[in-house]
């Protein structure tokens, strides 16, 4: 097929924010996750753990607790003292209600999802009623000094356990009185007494309270008597987080040393009645504090300050011992943070509060496979664009010619004109940007750089004409024929400027003013329109079906797509679970399509036969050792390269030139603060 000149870019200094808290919705199999920068993400476990929604953060809005209540409503609370409900359709905070108790450290919803309890800095626990369209203050429970760091409802909803510094309180919800007060530190000798922070707490229906504290202990208390039933020291540093399974027979604990432990309620003797909590499995997936853990029926999920989300399936709960039982780690977002100006060979990197524009280097040599070519020009950092205000950037894009940069925050949309004069560069803000309904969720420039498409909520797309030398005009707004409430999060435009494809949050891929692609019950992870054939390529997060090619002029799936569906894809391909985040095409060869996910880069050649299950899927290294005739027999459509990992972005600049943006885990770790010191080798 040929040789590519690969621009390996590793200078994108993205440091994902650490995971602060998580909430799991059992019915919808969705995990809400809040990061330390205030961003909230929703992962859909049914759709191969795809990051379905992302609400960018805010400098002043920290999220300390998340919970799902009243069905599928997501609430967050943080140190700014507000309870915030997130609008998951428009992807921004819908409203905030002041808790009037200072910073909020914890929040918990009762089993029915009708009431929210918050624990505040001033030691108060307040109840809020979840009503349609908002939350309503219900009452204050007994206040005692000391911030309330964690809360847990008794499953019956009659009592609340609140963990504070040095003690745990049990509050009667109806009377609002403190029913029990347990001193966590009571048994420690006076000389060794230090402040003991109860980081996390769980209230079981049997009346047992489980607490994890800053001494690294997991303790089991009888709440009515206030006595200690059992105590396990899991770590020399703090045990930060705790979660209980729905059956209440297993818990997971996260510590600040990055380890997680599973405890299980097991009979003391086989067949015996007496059961005991036993520490069963230790895991060390994180390097830093594990601030949040979740126990789903089949997996342990942990999130740490090292920004990793780790999903560890429980072997005994997984039916088939296959790919389901594999450990999954997510560090990088499933969103496009890099945009590429192909013609100008520029890369635009999106950080949480600024943008960076880089020019790629070049070489004038050629070489053989695997060689590193000498650089004739070094890559160049052209400009850094800082976003004003506390809001984080939702999306950004650079036009293919490299002379327009656009980005959007929650409330503002910015468009800049970049002028290149030799090596000098100047930037000018475009005046008179049309007042649009914000935020914009995705920006896409037409390939001739004449128009900018702005994805907006309710499935609409605004079209803005870019005028030389630095002006713009709002042309029109495209709205889907069937109304939708969800925002558009993916856009693709055709090279000839006739077609635009948009995907909104309810997974409907639509071609504006033309037709709707048949709905498929899975999230779209990437889409693109072929420049030559105007075929729409769609990849779904569900790898079982995976790839579709939809012919726009004929309003139906192409023959190749049908044959793929009929013959089925390779087994190993189907077992992949990281979503394909970008699709690109070879301008010179219509049959070649570039796909990539975090772990691999794949060039799909439609002209070659699909591999069957017996063939080797990743066969590049074996092919290279074969002779020319033998190679031909082995060739198949998927040409997979796993050299570049973890891959944030890959694109074809021209038919022989590739650009890859990697973000090695070691680089991320180097920018994190040092973890808790651990002894090695008895030194």
């Amino acid at each position: 097929m040929g040789e590519f000149e690969v621009h390996r870019v590793r200078f994108f200094g993205l440091v994902p924010a650490g995971v602060r808290c998580m909430a799991y919705q059992h019915r919808g199999c969705r995990l809400a996750l809040a990061r330390t920068d205030g961003a909230v993400e929703v992962y859909n476990f049914a759709a191969n753990y795809f990051m379905e929604k992302a609400i960018p953060g805010h400098q002043t809005r920290s999220v300390e607790a998340l919970c799902w209540a009243a069905g599928e409503r997501l609430f967050g609370a943080g140190l700014c003292g507000d309870i915030t409900e997130y609008d998951l359709e428009r992807l921004h905070p819908a409203y905030a209600v002041d808790g009037f108790g200072g910073p909020i450290w914890s929040m918990a919803a009762n089993n029915d999802g009708t009431q929210l309890a918050i624990g505040c800095e001033d030691g108060s626990v307040k109840l809020f009623q979840v009503v349609p369209g908002g939350v309503q203050f219900e009452k204050n429970l007994d206040r005692q000094k000391g911030r309330v760091l964690c809360l847990s409802w008794h499953p019956s909803g009659t009592h609340l356990a609140a963990g504070s510094i040095n003690f745990i309180r049990v509050l009667d919800v109806r009377s609002g009185r403190t029913a029990q007060r347990i001193m966590v530190n009571y048994h420690v000798p006076k000389s060794k007494k230090r402040e003991c922070v109860v980081w996390s707490i769980a209230f079981l229906s049997s009346g047992t309270i489980i607490s994890s504290d800053s001494f690294g202990r997991v303790q089991f208390w009888d709440w009515e008597r206030g006595t200690l039933q059992d105590s396990h020291t899991v770590s020399t540093s703090a045990a930060l987080s705790l979660a209980v399974s729905e059956e209440e027979d297993s818990i997971v604990v996260g510590t600040s040393a990055g380890a997680t432990y599973q405890f299980q309620l097991l009979p003391v003797k086989t067949g015996g009645q007496e059961k005991r909590w036993v520490k069963t499995k230790p895991f060390q997936h994180h390097t830093h504090d594990v601030r949040a853990v979740v126990h789903t029926p089949t997996a342990l999920i942990s999130g740490g300050l090292d920004a990793q989300l780790v999903i560890r399936p429980l072997m005994e709960k997984v039916q088939k011992k296959s790919y389901d039982a594999v450990l999954r780690k997510f560090t990088l977002p499933h969103r496009r943070l890099v945009s590429c100006a192909r013609k100008a060979r520029l890369l635009l990197f999106q950080f949480s509060q600024h943008l960076e524009l880089w020019r790629l280097g070049s070489t004038n040599k050629t070489g053989k496979d695997g060689e590193v070519l000498p650089l004739s020009r070094m890559p160049e950092h052209l400009l850094q664009l800082k976003s004003k205000g506390p809001e984080h950037i939702y999306c950004s894009c650079v036009s293919p010619c490299g002379s327009w940069i656009a980005y959007s925050t929650a409330s503002r949309f910015h468009l800049y004109r970049v002028q290149h004069e030799g090596d000098n560069i100047s930037i000018k803000k475009v005046p008179g940007v049309p007042k649009l309904l914000l935020p914009a969720y995705q920006l896409q420039c037409a390939s001739d750089s004449g128009r900018l498409f702005i994805a907006s909520d309710r499935g609409s797309v605004h079209v803005v004409q870019l005028l030389e030398p630095g002006g713009c005009k709002h042309l029109h707004t495209l709205r889907p024929p069937a109304g939708t409430r969800e925002a558009v999060y993916l856009l693709a435009s055709s090279a000839d400027g006739n077609w635009l494809a948009a995907v909104s949050g309810d997974w409907e891929a639509g071609l504006c003013h033309h037709c709707t692609v048949p709905t498929y019950s899975c999230a779209v992870t990437a889409l693109a329109i072929h420049p030559a054939t105007n075929n729409l390529f769609i990849s779904y997060s569900d790898q079982q079906v995976g790839l579709f090619e939809f012919s726009i002029p004929e309003k139906q799936y192409t023959a190749w797509s049908r044959s793929v569906q009929n013959s089925g894809l390779h087994r190993l391909w189907l077992e992949r679970d990281s979503p394909i985040t970008h699709i690109a095409f070879n301008p010179k060869n219509t049959s070649q399509i570039l796909l990539h996910d975090v772990y691999m880069l794949c060039v799909l050649d439609k002209s070659l036969p699909l591999p069957d299950n017996n063939a080797l899927l990743v066969n590049q290294s074996t092919l290279k050792q074969l002779s020319e005739p033998a190679r031909h027999r082995q060739l198949h459509a998927f040409k997979i390269c796993k050299k570049f990992q973890p891959l944030l972005f890959a694109d074809l600049l021209d038919e022989r030139c590739l650009v890859t943006v990697e973000r090695p885990a070691a680089d991320i770790n180097a920018e994190l603060p040092p973890p808790v010191q651990q002894k090695k080798f008895g030194t």
């Binding site: 097929m1 040929g2 040789e3 590519f4 000149e5 690969v6 621009h7 390996r8 870019v9 590793r10 200078f11 000094k145 000798p189 059992d230 105590s231 396990h232 003391v268 005991r276 036993v278 520490k279 280097g361 070049s362 070489t363 050629t366 070489g367 053989k368 496979d369 695997g370 060689e371 590193v372 070519l373 650089l375 070094m378 890559p379 060039v603 590049q620 092919l623 290279k624 190679r631 060739l635 040409k639 390269c641 050299k643 590739l658 090695p664 070691a666 680089d667 002894k679 090695k680 080798f681 008895g682």
Partner: protein
């Protein structure tokens, strides 16, 4: 030069706060005006209510008990500055004038008490400030010339003095008293106050002659003053100048006061007053009286005193007894004034300081010495009857009341019951059986003395329980009930006394041994060795290894000899005996397991974590026994029970002094067989330790490597030469040597690997730091 001027104080008070704490906060500003600035504190906490309160140092009332004429600004006239005699209306006329503005904030947020307490505190603060400022004005002559450095120096001195005073609050020094106040005990109000002239020093405590209700004082060593209640001025009362220096005047009820001179002479006051200038003989030469006391023996007053003689090598400490018969005839008296050297204590090294003693009966004297020991002496035979070391040091105060000593040492008031045998030679040389003269009874925390009634109730109940001829279980139950009732801060003291009473009974009655109760008490972790020193001795005697094990784990202060005795008992006791006892196996159970089928069960149990269940868990113990059968170097050389016991011993923290002490014991008597066994066990432990990456044994109470090494070194130091000679021990030693050498080599290899790994990482980083490259990729 300080230019301080004092005038009025304004007290501005404000209250109210929402913080639930008690705090007093006083902020001060000085201005040279008459208190006319109303807005001086406007910068601080404007929103709060304030009450302004003027204080006039001259005319405001002060509590009577603080009043001193010399400090009354109305009468005081400064010599150096000419200020003073602040008459009515001084504020308008006097110059210079300074006002001290105080912002007093009192916070006390307890519902219902807030207003009252805050008002009370405001009142108290006001009084303190008023008195303080009056004194500041009245003492102007003393500080007027001071430079800032002088002030700092003075502050430093006073600080040190305060510290000394606070630390030795019980021993007030007599010499510094310059005026004497007679106080009624009930209301602490002085009934009268007399002072000597400036420059005169009262050199011995003032006493009251009970017969005549006169007061007797001596100032400047030789001048005797006698006065009555109605006398006001001390200068005008009876005065007699004596020929010799007086050490002390002793007054006894129903007897003449006795005057003790520094030379050792003694006169009754009557005799002395008849001829004040009479010659006083020197009884002691070049010795100094350190302490004296008078008492009535029969009808005769007896005066005893302690002298100290400083020679080049020794400090002699002599006790003289002076007998003064109560006879009117003065001539006869001189003849019967007999003194005899009763006791001569010699203490080498240090000066006798802070000693005190009491006379117990006609033959026994108890001395509390500066070398921190309480000793009881027989004066007839000059022998030491009993002694008790007090490592915390004493303040040299000793009282005796109703067959009990009371003395302070450290922060503790100790009460010791004593009993003096009738003096006989046999008792004196210690041959008499059961001559138990000193017996520690109870041990009170100084801070808990207020709660004496609780302790008394405890003790009475306990003694009642002990006296009744009930069975052991009844006693245990009663005690348990009793102890469950009291959960107070002085619980510890009560337990201590109960335990020691129980132990005493154990000693006398061999059948009585409330083992379960004792174990329970020790497990509460509130006892220590010094609280009940006999407990371990009794346990050792009874070979109650479980109790000993718990003691070793729980007590922080076990002396070496007991440790050593425990070790000996543990090693000598047979495994068969041990199997019948219930030893806490938790600490060893996790690593003395070799058979794989047992392993899983056990680790799970250890994970579960509770020791109490383990004791009853029979299957585990049988499992251990099987393992024990397979005797090999790899396996534990002792049974699991014994291993657990030894382990609990190893966990004891060994400081340097302790190690030395133990070594002495080892050198003296330790049997070679035992030391070999113990060493083998330690070796085994060490091997086990090294198997793990973090070099700690599992379990809660496991020794660290360094502790094991300490014990090993101790044993080897003591017995190395002999051990080398024994063939079987030699093998052990050589294997240990090999093992240690292998360890050293292993660690050095590890270090090397670590170094090279770091190097590798460095190289790798270098390649990776290339943030950008253009590579060629061929896809086929």
């Amino acid at each position: 030069m300080l230019q301080r001027r004092l005038g009025i104080i304004i007290l501005i008070q404000s209250q109210c706060s929402f913080l639930p704490k008690f705090s007093i906060h006083i902020e001060t500003k000085y201005e040279d005006n008459k208190g006319s600035n109303d807005s001086i504190f406007d910068n601080e906490a404007k929103d709060l209510e304030r009450e302004v309160c003027f204080i006039d140092i001259a005319s405001d009332e002060i509590p009577e008990r603080y009043y001193k004429e010399s400090e009354d600004p109305k009468y005081f006239k400064s010599q150096k500055t000419g200020r003073g005699q602040l008459k009515e209306g001084w504020r308008e006329t006097h110059q210079p004038i300074m006002c001290s503005y105080k912002l007093v904030t009192v916070k006390f947020e307890v519902w219902g008490l807030q207003t009252r307490v805050e008002q009370f505190v405001h009142k108290v603060v006001r009084d303190i400030l008023l008195i303080g400022h009056r004194q500041a004005f009245a003492w102007v002559d003393e500080w007027y010339d001071m430079t800032m450095d002088d002030v700092r120096e003075y502050e430093k001195n006073m600080h040190e003095k305060t510290n000394i005073k606070v630390c030795n609050q019980h021993s007030s020094t007599v010499d510094e008293i310059e005026s004497h106040a007679k106080a009624r005990v009930s209301d602490q109000k002085p009934l009268g106050c007399w002072s000597v002239k400036h420059g005169q020093i009262i050199t011995c405590p003032v006493v009251c002659n009970f017969e005549t209700h006169e007061y007797i004082a001596v100032h400047d060593n030789k001048v005797l003053r006698i006065w009555k209640d109605k006398d006001v001025n001390l200068d005008k009362v009876f005065k007699a100048t004596l020929s010799a220096e007086v050490y002390r005047v002793h007054s006894l009820p129903h007897a003449e006061p006795l005057v003790l001179f520094r030379g050792g002479g003694v006169r009754t006051l009557d005799v002395l007053l008849e001829a004040p200038q009479q010659e006083i003989e020197d009884v002691i030469s070049d010795e100094v009286i350190k302490w004296s006391e008078a008492f009535l023996e029969g009808q005769q007053p007896v005066l005893i005193f302690v002298t100290e003689k400083v020679s080049l090598t020794n400090v002699y400490d002599s006790i003289y007894k002076v007998l003064i018969p109560l006879q009117q005839n003065s001539e006869e008296e001189e003849q019967t004034l007999s003194k005899s050297l009763l006791l001569n204590l010699s203490i080498s090294g240090s000066v006798l300081k802070g000693t005190s003693f009491v006379v117990l009966d006609k033959d026994h004297v108890a001395v509390l010495g500066s070398l921190a020991c309480l000793t009881i002496w027989n004066t007839k035979f000059q022998t030491l009857q009993a002694s008790k070391e007090l490592p915390l040091g004493t303040s040299g105060q000793l009282w005796c009341y109703g067959e009990k000593f009371f003395f302070t040492h450290g922060k503790v008031l100790t009460v010791v019951i004593y009993k003096c045998e009738t003096s006989s030679l046999a008792a004196a040389v210690g041959k008499l059986k059961d001559s138990q003269t000193s017996d520690l009874c109870s041990f009170l925390n100084w801070n808990t003395l207020q709660d004496e009634e609780l302790l008394v109730s405890c003790q009475s109940q306990q003694s009642a329980a002990l006296k009744s001829e009930s069975t052991m279980t009844v006693i245990e139950d009663e005690l348990r009930q009793l102890l469950s009732k009291v959960q107070r801060p002085d619980f510890q003291a009560a337990i201590g006394s109960v335990i020691s009473a129980l132990i005493n009974r154990c000693k006398t009655d061999p059948a009585f041994y409330p083992r379960n109760f004792l174990i329970q008490m020790i497990q509460k972790r509130e006892l220590s060795y010094s609280l009940c020193p006999d407990l371990m001795a009794v346990a050792l005697e009874k070979k109650d290894v479980h109790l000993l094990q718990i003691c070793l784990q729980r007590f922080p202060d076990i002396p070496e000899e007991i440790t050593y005795a425990c070790l000996k008992v543990f090693l000598s006791i047979s495994d068969e005996y041990l199997e019948r006892t219930d030893v806490d196996l938790e600490s060893v159970i996790s690593y003395i397991d070799i058979e794989p089928n047992n392993k899983e069960v056990k680790t799970e149990v250890v994970e579960n974590g509770f020791s109490t269940e383990l004791e009853e868990d029979g299957c585990d113990v049988t499992g251990m026994k099987e393992i024990h059968m397979m005797d090999s170097v790899e396996f534990c050389p002792v049974g699991p029970q014994k291993a657990a016991l030894l382990l609990s011993l190893c966990v004891i923290a060994l400081c340097r002094a302790k190690l030395l002490g133990l070594k002495c014991f080892f050198l003296q008597t330790f049997s070679l067989f035992f030391s070999q066994l113990f060493l083998r066990y330690l070796h085994y432990l060490y091997v086990k330790c090294s198997e793990r990456i973090n070099t700690t044994l599992p379990g809660v109470l496991s020794p660290t490597v360094s502790q094991i090494m300490d014990w090993m070194c101790l044993l080897l130091d003591a017995h190395f030469t002999v051990m080398v000679m024994l063939p079987e021990a030699k093998r052990l030693l050589s294997s240990m040597h090999k093992f240690v050498r292998a360890q050293v080599r292993f660690y050095s290899e590890l270090n090397k690997i670590e170094g090279s790994l770091q190097e590798l990482q460095r190289i790798k980083c270098q390649t990776d730091t290339q943030a950008y490259s253009i590579e060629v990729l061929e896809l086929i």
